[in-house]
């Protein structure tokens, strides 16, 4: 067991975990932030996605030893009140069904819009197609991403 220091949702945290522990477990079990999900453990499904400096990263692929001193944002930290443009758009377009993959999808979309504020359909497909939704919410997700991009442009204007 080692003491690992990291920042989550702007709060400095210190956790006592095995060095190999994937970040997704630190978030879900140690810090009780269960918004980040565990769907496969091998970086394939995208439901463990969180943000680091605006970019989407897969927390099941980051061991504690590599997470130290870094700063991450989980779905709980995206906004205090579901007001982030991605969350707003997701609600407006009524995207979620079972909801389990959605935090990862929302944060993947945030990562996309951070890099490409006005993504083409091809860019949306490319960014989102490494994540899996078994309920099949993809068509509404695409609409929500375009809506979120528009909301972000309105904010800037």
């Amino acid at each position: 067991m080692s003491e690992i220091r990291l920042t989550v949702n702007d709060k400095k945290r210190v956790v006592d975990v095995d060095e190999d522990t994937p970040l997704v477990w630190i978030l879900r079990d140690t810090l009780a932030l269960t918004g980040t999900k565990f769907g496969c453990g091998v970086g394939v499904c995208g439901s463990c996605t969180i943000l680091e400096n605006g970019k989407a990263v897969r927390s099941c692929q980051i061991p504690a030893s590599e997470a130290k001193e870094r700063a991450f944002v989980t779905i709980e930290g995206l906004s205090p009140d579901a007001s982030h443009p991605c969350q707003r758009a997701w609600l407006e377009e009524d995207v979620a069904q079972c909801g389990f993959c959605q935090p990862g999808m929302i944060l993947t979309a945030c990562g996309l819009l951070h890099d490409q504020p006005d993504p083409s359909d091809e860019a949306i497909d490319a960014a989102m197609s490494d994540s899996v939704c078994r309920c099949g919410t993809y068509p509404r997700m695409r609409k929500a991403i375009r809506r979120a991009a528009a909301l972000m442009r309105e904010k800037k204007a």
């Binding site: 095995d18 190999d20 522990t21 477990w25 879900r28 079990d29 009780a32 932030l33 269960t34 918004g35 980040t36 999900k37 565990f38 769907g39 496969c40 453990g41 091998v42 394939v44 499904c45 439901s47 989980t74 779905i75 709980e76 995206l78 906004s79 579901a82 969350q87 997701w90 609600l91 407006e92 009524d94 979620a96 069904q97 079972c98 909801g99 389990f100 993959c101 959605q102 935090p103 929302i106 949306i124 497909d125 490319a126 989102m128 197609s129 490494d130 994540s131 899996v132 939704c133 078994r134 309920c135 099949g136 919410t137 993809y138 068509p139 509404r140 997700m141 695409r142």
Partner: protein
């Protein structure tokens, strides 16, 4: 009553889901919770000759290692006759760790309980199991001598004989098709893996947080297994992260979690790994279906023969009745024969997966019909219409509110089907081959029973409760809408609660039954509520309804009851309660066996039209357009309904083009055990899907007029895609998935 209930609503639980606040089974905080890790067999059949847990027990943090040698026997299971509707679902008819026998590869042979999951996993890897393997049966061919022909499946006859099929198939004047269609093992793979947290309070009280589609079923089975009083077993599951059928039965991990917690003396969480979702929570059996059709030259079917072969396990009887649920009811024909054969093999027990029976059955039948339409040089839609059945073709009662013809018409219009050139390889988009295909969709309307409790408060808000489930189906929203309409209060004033076995009875959220069943219970509870209010009002001298008969009183406007014959004589709920000095009143409807109507057949119908594009040089199929028109009775919640159909279509794209769980023919272990190898559709695979509803209410079915729509979306769509692929390429692929190698 309108075709939909109120305006189209966004999901009431949407905000919880976009903020990460919705809690799923293994996420509930339980102090001092330990972790359970399973050890699986790597042989498909045989006996455990030795099991050495010494090294495992030596790992720091390990609290217990359970094997068949040291685990107390589970006590009992509900009798088969008690099950299904109310008693719980057990696809695997055995208890875990009950003896030294191995029945399938992946069977749990030990459970390690440890303080952390890494300790449990480490210890699990140190458990040494020795086996005396036997030759397993793994294929239909190998199990030929054990073939079963079950008479019924869930009270439906599955061996069907109408007229003389053999004679028609010998008739030289008829146009004939005979083909065999194959579908592989498919695995549900909801993104939330199954999981259970078991918490004992003393040795007579047990709470499970369990990812389940049937809280009351888990409650009953677990109570029997441990010899507990039903009311001392509590199952909690407010949100399910997808199920599609795999969370309906009580699988071995649930019982292991509870037993592990009992023996270790601490709460235990067992989170089924993604690997074990391929062996420990069911799957759809592979199917081999041989269709024979005979028709006159003008397209009238004279015989349909559907020979369906599927697998089950040696420790559980599961029947995927492909023929009975498609050919048995879809088209008019003087001769119909369905034969269902099930082979028990050494694999983990299959279970319901979205539209069990209908899904693979419609794939085979709708492809065969497409092949017939080509042989007849007849438009595929025209062929369906020529054989349209107003009456159930084998039960000989009329279908209630079928409206399938409207679905074909509306779908064809929206899709632009009239522009189709029927010649294969005749349509292109630049260099890319274009194909248009269609198929009929169908799913039965199942009726089960439920009860609902309503608490109405003096501030005109109400809480409604039922032990039903939201798997992403939109139940919270649909039931809030139904409650609002039936009780007579604004949508915003209703709180609908589900997912607890303490609530009044709710059946399995399966068979697309929930909206109709629970909706009917809400309707009954609302009636009782209005009666209770009436009883208060008629005794109250200050009420306009004083001294009137309660039988003459009903809800006359939102928030008001009044005289049926003169709605101006009315009283407000809030006033009635306040004057009676009551903060609230509570009523509960009775769970009664559902009213069966044998005079009609209740079935939902629809049509899929789809477009595929295929680059002739790299024959990967891209589905580029889908139009699906359904008639499922009244659409309660427009947005969630559309999502359900779209979800079914997306899953059908996977079935048609990418999904397959493969097994090692030697060991019987699945070799596909993660989401990198099992290809579920992703964003890039899915086009815009246009969904429309004919929406004619079916009040003969229930007072809500709704028939349910969770599964119909996946029926027929794989055939529509396969038919479109043929239209584009001239190549008929008869085994799914249609991967590029099959089109070269």
């Amino acid at each position: 009553m309108s075709a939909t209930i109120g305006p189209a609503r966004n999901r009431v639980d949407g905000r919880l889901k976009v903020t990460g606040a919705a809690k799923y089974s293994v996420e509930f905080e339980v102090p001092e919770c330990a972790h359970g890790w399973t050890v699986e067999s790597n042989i498909a059949k045989g006996r455990i000759t030795a099991i050495d847990t010494k090294a495992a027990q030596g790992v720091p943090g390990v609290l217990a290692v359970l094997t068949h040698l040291n685990t107390p026997k589970f006590q009992a299971a509900p009798k088969k006759e008690e099950r299904g509707g109310g008693g719980g679902i057990r696809n695997e008819e055995r208890f875990p760790l009950n003896d030294d026998e191995v029945h399938y590869a992946g069977q749990y042979v030990a459970l390690v309980v440890a303080k952390t999951i890494e300790q449990a996993r480490q210890a699990g890897s140190l458990v040494r199991v020795s086996y005396a393997p036997e030759e397993p049966l793994l294929t239909m061919e190998a199990a030929e001598h054990k073939a079963q022909k079950p008479k019924t499946n869930h009270d439906e006859h599955v061996q069907i004989k109408k007229g003389d099929v053999e004679a028609a198939l010998k008739d030289a004047s008829l146009v004939k098709i005979e083909q065999t269609y194959i579908t592989p093992t498919e695995t549900h793979n909801p993104i939330e893996m199954s999981g259970t947290i078991a918490v004992w309070a003393g040795d007579k009280n047990l709470t499970l947080y369990d990812a389940t589609q049937f809280v009351k079923g888990v409650q009953n089975i677990v109570a029997h297994a441990f010899g507990l009083e039903l009311e001392n077993v509590r199952i909690i599951c407010p949100f399910v992260g997808g199920a599609f059928g795999c969370k309906g039965a009580v699988w071995m991990h649930v019982l292991l979690a509870a037993m592990g917690a009992k023996l270790a003396g601490v709460p235990v969480k067992v989170h089924v790994t993604r690997r074990n979702m391929f062996v420990g929570a069911g799957h759809r059996t592979p199917t081999r279906q041989t269709l024979s059709l005979a028709a006159t030259r003008d397209g009238k079917l004279q015989a349909i023969q559907h020979l369906s072969e599927t697998l089950t396990s040696t420790v559980g009887q599961f029947t995927e009745s492909c023929g009975a649920r498609s050919t048995g009811l879809m088209y008019e024909s003087p001769a119909i024969r369905v034969e269902e054969t099930v082979y028990p093999v050494n694999v983990s027990t299959p279970t319901f997966m979205r539209a069990p029976g209908e899904c693979p059955g419609t794939y085979a039948l709708e492809c065969a019909l497409d092949e017939l339409s080509i042989a007849l040089k007849m438009d595929p839609v025209a062929l369906r219409l020529a054989n349209h059945a107003d009456n159930h073709p084998t039960k000989n009662v009329p279908f209630s509110a079928k409206h399938l013809k409207e679905a074909y018409q509306l779908g064809a219009e929206k899709f632009g089907w009239a522009k189709r050139n029927p010649e294969p390889r005749s349509m292109r988009d630049g260099d890319v081959l274009l194909g248009w295909g269609m198929a009929t969709a169908t799913y039965p309307a199942h009726k089960m029973s439920a009860a609902a409790k309503v608490q109405l408060r003096a501030n005109n808000t109400a809480t409604v409760q039922c032990a039903t489930h939201d798997l992403g189906t939109g139940a919270y929203t649909a039931f809030t809408q139904i409650s609002s309409e039936q009780i007579g209060l604004p949508f915003e004033n209703i709180t609908f609660e589900l997912g607890k076995s303490d609530f009044p009875f709710g059946p399995v959220a399966g068979g697309s039954n929930s909206t109709g069943t629970v909706g009917t219970a809400i309707h009954a509870a609302a009636g009782l509520l209005h009666k209770a209010l009436a009883e208060l009002a008629v005794k109250d001298s200050k009420s306009p309804l004083y001294n009137l008969k309660t039988d003459d009183i009903t809800m006359v406007a939102p928030g008001r009851i009044g005289l049926k014959t003169d709605s101006a004589k009315s009283d407000a709920y809030a006033d009635i309660l306040k004057r009676a000095g009551k903060e609230s009143i509570e009523v509960q409807s009775e769970q009664k066996p559902p009213e069966e109507n044998k005079k009609q057949a209740f079935q939902s119908w629809g049509a899929h039209f789809c477009e595929v594009k295929i680059d002739p040089l790299l024959p990967r199929v891209q589905v580029t357009r889908v139009v699906s028109v359904m008639n499922c009775g009244r659409v309660v919640s427009a947005k969630t309904a559309r999502s359900q159909i779209m979800g079914g279509v997306v899953m059908g794209i996977g079935m048609a083009l990418t999904e397959e769980t493969s097994y090692d023919p030697g060991t019987g272990l699945p070799v596909t055990r993660n989401l990198a190898d099992y290809h579920v559709p992703t964003n890039a695979d899915v086009p815009e899907i246009e969904v429309a509803f004919v929406g004619e209410p079916d009040f003969a079915f229930n007072p809500i007029g709704a028939r349910g729509m969770g599964e119909i979306g996946i029926t027929g769509i794989a055939a529509a895609i396969a038919n479109a692929v043929y239209h584009a390429t001239g190549k008929r692929v008869r085994d799914l998935p249609i991967t590029p190698d099959k089109l070269i």
